[in-house]
C-alpha cells in the first residue's frame, strides 16, 4: 500500500489528505512543526482580537484524524533524501515515503532592512507569529505604537488587530494609494478613507529605511525614506510572503522562488509533488501568477492532486478566478479579472459606481470592443459566486450583467439594494438604456 507523506498541515495538505481518504485506503501521514492539528490560518487574527479562541479556528474536532486514519506527526522536516525516499526530521527520526507532497506554505518577506531581525520585529503568518504578537503587543501600555510595513492584505489585517486593542498604528505603504497594484483607483481611494476612519496613521509613498534598536536589542523606532523617525515597540513586516522551502535547498528538487511544478503538480523528481503557496508553476495559468498564495487555490490544488495520487491523473486546471478579503469593516469579493490601472491591458475598460455616503462601491471590467464581461470587484455588497461563474463561462457581455444584476445580490434579507442606482450610473456613463430585471429564483437556480 502506498504511503503518502504530506509536509504541511495547512489548507492544501489537509484538503489533499481528506480527498485521498475519500478515494482510497492509502496510508496518509501529515507532518507539521507549526501545530498539532489543522487550523484556519486566515482566522488567526480573530484569536488576537478576542472574537475566537484558538480551538475555534480548528475546522475538525480532534477525533477526526484518527477516525479517518490520517496520521499526524508533529515535527520539523530538515532534509528530503530523494534517493532513499525518506525524510529526516530535526529530532533525527526518519520517515519513509512512497509519494511525497510538499505543502509547506509561505513565510513573510524580508528585504534586507537594517534591524529586520531585532526583537519586536515580526511578520504575521504562522501560529508562532500570533503567539509572538501576543507577547510583543498585549496591550497599549506595553506597546505604545506599532509600525506596519507593507500595504497588502496582511498589513491591513495586522493594523485591524492592533487597533482592536487600542494600540496606535502607523501604516507605511510604498504605493501612493493602498493596494493600488491590485485595486483600481476608486476602490483603493475608498479603502484609504476607511483606514483613516479607523484612526490608523496611513503614510502613503513611504518606505522603511531602517529599524533602530534600544540597548536590549529591541526595536525602538523606525526611520522612513522621508527622513522621519517614528518611535514604536513593534514593527510588523507585511510586505508579502515567499515560499517556505529553505529545507529543500540541496534535495535535488528544482526550485525557483517556489518548488517548480508542472500542471500535474509534479516536481522534477519522480513521486514528489508540491501544492499550495509553495508551488510555482513553470508558467502562470491564464492570468494567474506562477505562485498563487491564496487560500482557495491551495484548496483547489489539493482537490486536483488527490485525483492524480489515486491513479486518475488530472492537471491542475482552475476555473474562473475569484477571491475575497475584508478591509476592516468592508467586505471585498472579486469574480473574474479586474486589473488596476497599473497592470490592466489596453482592451480592459471599467465601469465604477460608488455610493454617495456609505463605503460601498463596485467596479466592472469589460472588453472595450466586444463589451464582453471580464470581471467584477464588489465592496460592501455581497454577490453570488455561482452567478458570476456562470456569466463568465457563458462569455456574457456587460449589458447582460447590468440587466440581471439583481440575481447576483447576496446581501442578507432586508438590506438596501443598489441595483437601480448602479444601472442608472451605467446608463449615464455609457449612454445606454438598460432597466434591471427583477430577481428570479428560476434563473438563480437554473445552474444548480
Amino acid at each position: 500500500m502506498d504511503h503518502i507523506v504530506i509536509i504541511g498541515n495547512g489548507i492544501s495538505g489537509v484538503t489533499l489528505a481528506r480527498h485521498i481518504r475519500k478515494l482510497s485506503d492509502k496510508k496518509i501521514t501529515i507532518i507539521s512543526a507549526e501545530s498539532d492539528y489543522f487550523f484556519s490560518r486566515t482566522a488567526l487574527m480573530y484569536v488576537y482580537m478576542g472574537h475566537m479562541k484558538f480551538e475555534h479556528t480548528q475546522p475538525y474536532e480532534n477525533w477526526f484524524w484518527k477516525k479517518n486514519r490520517i496520521d499526524l506527526v508533529n515535527g520539523f522536516v530538515e532534509k528530503v533524501e530523494t534517493d532513499t525516499k525518506k525524510l529526516v526530521l530535526k529530532d533525527g527520526t526518519t520517515i519513509p515515503y512512497d509519494k511525497l507532497v510538499i505543502a509547506t506554505g509561505s513565510k513573510p518577506n524580508k528585504f534586507g532592512w537594517p534591524g529586520q531581525d531585532l526583537k519586536g520585529v515580526q511578520g504575521l503568518y504562522s501560529k508562532q507569529d500570533l503567539e509572538l504578537l501576543q507577547e510583543n503587543a498585549p496591550n497599549n501600555k506595553i506597546c505604545n505604537r506599532a509600525v506596519i510595513v507593507g500595504g497588502g492584505l496582511i498589513g491591513i489585517e495586522m493594523a485591524e488587530m492592533l487597533r482592536s486593542r487600542e494600540i496606535p498604528v502607523t501604516f507605511l505603504v510604498r504605493e501612493n494609494s493602498f493596494w493600488n497594484g491590485v485595486l483600481p483607483a476608486g476602490e483603493s481611494a475608498m479603502i484609504n478613507e476607511h483606514i483613516l476612519d479607523h484612526h490608523i496613521d496611513l503614510q502613503l509613498e513611504t518606505n522603511l529605511e531602517k529599524i533602530i534598536a534600544d540597548e536590549n536589542g529591541r526595536a525602538k523606532a523606525v526611520v522612513t525614506d522621508k527622513g522621519e523617525t517614528i518611535e514604536c515597540n513593534v514593527v510588523g513586516l507585511t510586505a508579502g510572503v515567499t515560499p517556505n522551502i529553505d529545507f529543500l535547498k540541496d534535495s535535488g528538487i528544482e526550485l525557483g522562488r517556489g518548488v517548480k511544478v508542472n500542471r500535474f503538480l509534479e516536481t522534477n523528481v519522480k513521486d514528489i509533488f508540491a501544492i499550495g503557496d509553495c508551488a510555482e508553476q513553470h508558467e502562470g495559468i491564464g492570468s494567474r501568477r506562477p505562485i498563487e498564495a491564496v487560500w482557495y487555490t491551495g484548496r483547489m490544488m489539493g482537490e486536483a492532486l488527490a485525483q492524480t495520487l489515486c491513479d486518475k491523473p488530472r492537471e491542475y486546471t482552475p476555473g474562473h478566478w475569484f477571491n475575497s478579503a475584508k478591509f476592516l469593516d468592508i467586505e471585498y469579493q472579486t469574480y473574474g479579472w479586474v486589473f488596476s490601472e497599473r497592470s490592466k491591458k489596453d482592451n480592459e475598460q471599467h465601469f465604477h459606481w460608488r455610493h454617495p455616503s456609505e463605503k460601498i462601491c463596485i467596479t466592472v471590467a469589460f472588453d472595450k470592443d466586444s463589451h464582453q464581461f471580464l470581471g467584477l470587484n464588489t465592496f460592501g455588497i455581497r454577490m453570488r459566486h455561482e452567478i458570476f461563474d456562470q456569466w463568465l463561462t457563458e462569455n456574457r457581455d456587460i449589458d447582460h450583467v447590468m440587466t440581471y444584476l439583481r440575481d447576483a445580490n447576496f446581501d442578507p434579507e432586508f438590506f438596501k439594494l443598489y441595483e437601480e442606482e448602479i444601472v442608472a450610473k451605467y446608463n449615464a456613463d455609457f449612454n445606454k438604456n438598460i432597466s434591471p430585471k427583477k430577481k428570479s429564483w428560476k434563473r438563480i437556480f437554473s445552474i444548480a
Binding site: S40, M52, F54, E166, T317, P318, S324, H385, F410
Partner: protein, 527 residues
Amino acid sequence: MGNFDRSMSLAGEPPKALNTGQKLAVLTGMTGMGILILQLFNLNLGNTALWLSVAILAIFTGIIWFSQAAYAHKQKGIKNDGIWFKSMSSRGVLAWMAGIALTGFYIVLYFYPHYLGLVKDGDNTGLIALFDPLSKGLSGNPASQWFVYGTMYTVAILAFGVKFIWKYRHNKYEQLRTVSVMFFQTAFAFFIPEIMARLNGDLPYYDLKNMWPLNYYNFERYRINGFIDSGSVGMTMLFFGIISIFVISPFLTYKYGKRWYCSWVCGCGGLAETAGDSFRQLSDKSKFAWKVERWVVHSVVVFVTLMTTAVIYSYLGNDTSKYWLTKTVFISGVAFILTAVFAWVMIYKREELAKDAKYGAIGYFTIIVVLIGMHFFSDSGNIFIFKAETLRSTYSFLIGSIFSGVIGTGFYPILGNRVWCRFGCPMAAVLGFQQRMFSKFRITTNGGQCISCGNCSTYCEMGIDVRAYAQKGENIVRSSCVGCGICSAVCPRGVLKLENGPEKGRINSNDVLLGNDVDLMDLVNNK
C-alpha cells in the same frame, strides 16, 4: 493553546476594562437593581409607584447608556472585539456569579415566591408589593410573582433589544427581527393578557403567540372550561390555540423556516437574542453535543405529546350522545394524525431523513403503543402506573420550571443563551422537524468563498457547526437553526445568506468546491 495562554499572563492582558461612560452606566443600572433588592428586605420606601418607576427607569437608562458608550463612537460593523477576554462572556468569575444569581432567582421565583413578598390572602409585601401599583393599573389585580417576572422580562428584552440594534446597526435583518421580538413581548406577552384580564375576568391568562407545545398547559381542563365559559371570545381563543399549531405555524414554517417564530416572535427566543446575546458563543459545537441534543429534545416532544393527550383524555367522557368528542374519538384522532404524519414522512422524505428516521420511528411507536395501552387498560388517562395529573405536574416541574427557567435562563452565562431552545423546547423541535422536511428556508453557502475561519460556528447560539457545511459548499438545512442570522452577519467573506427559495436543490453537497476545474467537479460530484 498552552503557549498562548502563558504568554498572555506573562505579558499583561489585553484591554477589556470599561470606559468611563460604561462605568457610569453600570452604576446607574445597578442603582435600579439595588432599589429592587432593598425591597426584598421589605423596607418601606413609601411611595411605591414612584420607587418602582425610578428603579425601572434606572435599569433601562443604565443598559442603554452602556450600549451607547460601547458602540456609538465606533464604526459600524461586527463588534466582537475582546469577547473571549471578558470575564462575563468567557465563563469567567463574573459569568459564574451571574449564573448563580440568576439560577437562585429562578428557584425562588418558581418554588419560594413568598420570599419575594407574595402573600396568598392579604396584601403583598416586599418586592411584589412594589409592583402592585403597576399591576393594579393594568389588570386591576395585585401583582403576583409572575407579574414581577413578566415586567422585568419585558424590560430586559426592550433595553437589551436597544443594545442589540445598536450593535448591529449595519444589519437591517438583525434590527427588524429585534424590533419584532420587542413588539411581541411588550404587546402580546405583557399588555394584552393583562388588559384582557381587566375586560373579562374569567378568561384564562393567554399570551396568544405562546402556542402548544411550548405552552404545554394550554389544553388543561381549567383552561378549556375558562375558554368555554367566556363565550365567543373564549371559544375564538381556543380555536386560535388549535389552529396556531396545526395550520398557522406549519404554513409560516413552510414559507420562512422556524425563524418566523423562534427569533421573530417567541418570548424565550426574544430574551435569548437580546439579554442573552453576549453568551451566544458559549454553546457547545461538538458532535457529541448534537447527539445529546437530538435525544433530549425529541424525548421532550414525546413526553409533552403523551402528557397532553393523557390530560385531555382524562377529562373527556364516553357518552357520544352528550358530546361528540369522546375518549375514543379523541384518542383515535391523535393516533390518526400521528400515523398520517409518520407515513407521509416515510414515503416522501425518506432520503432526507436517512439516519434520523430510526429515531423518528422509535418516538412514533413509543407514543402509539402507549396510547393504545392507555385506551385499553385505563379509563382515566393513566399511563402505566402514572396518573395524567402526575404526568402533568412532573412535566410542569421538570420541563416547565427546571429546564426552561432554572437551567435555560439561569445558565445563560455558562452554557449559552439557547440551551432551552436547543435541548428542551418541544415547540422548537416540532417546528425544526418541519423546517428540515418541508420548508423553503435554508442558509445558502456562496460557492467556494468559505475560508473555514470559524466565526459562523463560534457565534451560532444553537451550536450548529455552520463551518462544516460552508467549507464544503453545502447549504445549511438543520432542524435546530432558529434563523437568527448571526452566522451570516459575522462571516468576513460574505459566504452565508438566509433565504427562502425553491425546495429543489435546497439540500446539496459538493465534494469539489466551485472555482476548481469544471470537469473535475462534474466527475467527482456525479460519481
